[in-house]
Symmetry: C2
Subunit: 169 residues, 2 copies
DNA sequence: TGCAATATATGTACTATGACAAGTATGAAG
DNA sequence: CTTCATACTTGTCATAGTACATATATTGCA
């Protein structure tokens, strides 16, 4: 029997770690801060492109023109669905279909100038947002940020393209 | 005339900043790393809830039970649309409708245990992912990360709830 | 009581996404 | 040239999200 489950109290952060992992706490807080940055940078284009569509822009920006099927695979889409999905993006002026030089049955998808602009708008905004934060800092603080972030990024490694695509960023 | 715009070459990061802003570069790299973390933490639940639905879980986790209309406002949804949106989440066992003690026309939405579990799964995974990165580090490196992230988070400030909701995180 | 305001639910309609099957055009192998 | 595989397109259908207008229930106030 599936009775309506009872209400639960709010919980900002579930479970506080051991008292000595201040680095974990700091990392979580910083991750929220960076999320804010990312979200703000993405917001302005969200009425031009949907998140799944932005995924495509990311892939094409990083890999260059791709065959339709390969592109579908990269974003984890069904190939047959993807054709009409591409139609919408073509209609939106974000991508372009072109014939493959090698084979007439292949269709190459590439960014249009507009598609590239949308992508650049987001990454540019992200950069600007972060710069805005950093310019509040003293030289010593900047150095601390640089050192800490470098260490973390090195340890975390670059996320695979497919991983970040989950969010479409 | 809007002819099909030509293909553009790939561009990983558009525009490199001035040579001295290594902190900016580090921050951008770290932001990508954290994005990977966030994306990985979100991936497992993406077949249980959609991103808009996860937004609701986030809001309810942070604010506790809310009236339907207030909840709709928090996630930026049209009130009349939201009723059926809530239907789906109720059907999915993620939230529950209950009568307001004060007024019989008000409907209070609260997380079910399952809804709270899904939210906790994501935040828990995020925490675990970050811990996994940090445990590779030496004490000195941990200290650098803690210091750098603390400075950055303080300068960036907590993102507003509405801001992070853009991404549904 | 009666009326206006409030809170939610429903009718209707549209777009985006996405799955599956079937069709069409092209290329490659024999 | 026939046949099979490849690459994309199209038909069909189902679901999610969202909007606008309208209906229903409830409350508060005159």
């Amino acid at each position: 029997m599936k009775t309506t489950t009872a209400a639960l109290p709010p919980s900002g952060d579930p479970g506080s770690g051991s008292p000595d992992d201040t680095a974990l706490t700091s990392a979580l807080t910083a991750s929220r801060a960076l999320l804010g940055v990312i979200a703000r940078s993405l917001a302005p284009v969200m009425d031009t492109v949907t998140l799944p569509q932005f995924r495509v822009l990311v892939v094409l920006s990083n890999f260059g023109p791709l065959r339709m099927g390969d592109l579908a695979q990269h974003v984890g889409a069904n190939q047959s669905s993807f054709s009409r999905f591409a139609d919408r993006m073509v209609a939106g002026g974000l991508i372009a279909r072109s014939a493959s030089p090698g084979s007439r049955r292949e269709v190459i998808i590439s960014l249009t100038a507009e598609g590239a602009r949308v992508y650049a708008e987001v990454t540019g905004a992200r950069k600007k947002e972060i710069a805005l934060v950093l310019e509040k800092l003293s030289d010593a603080e900047l150095d601390a940020v640089r050192a800490g972030f470098e260490v973390f990024a090195r340890a975390a490694g670059e996320p695979s393209a497919d991983e970040t695509l989950i969010l479409g960023i």
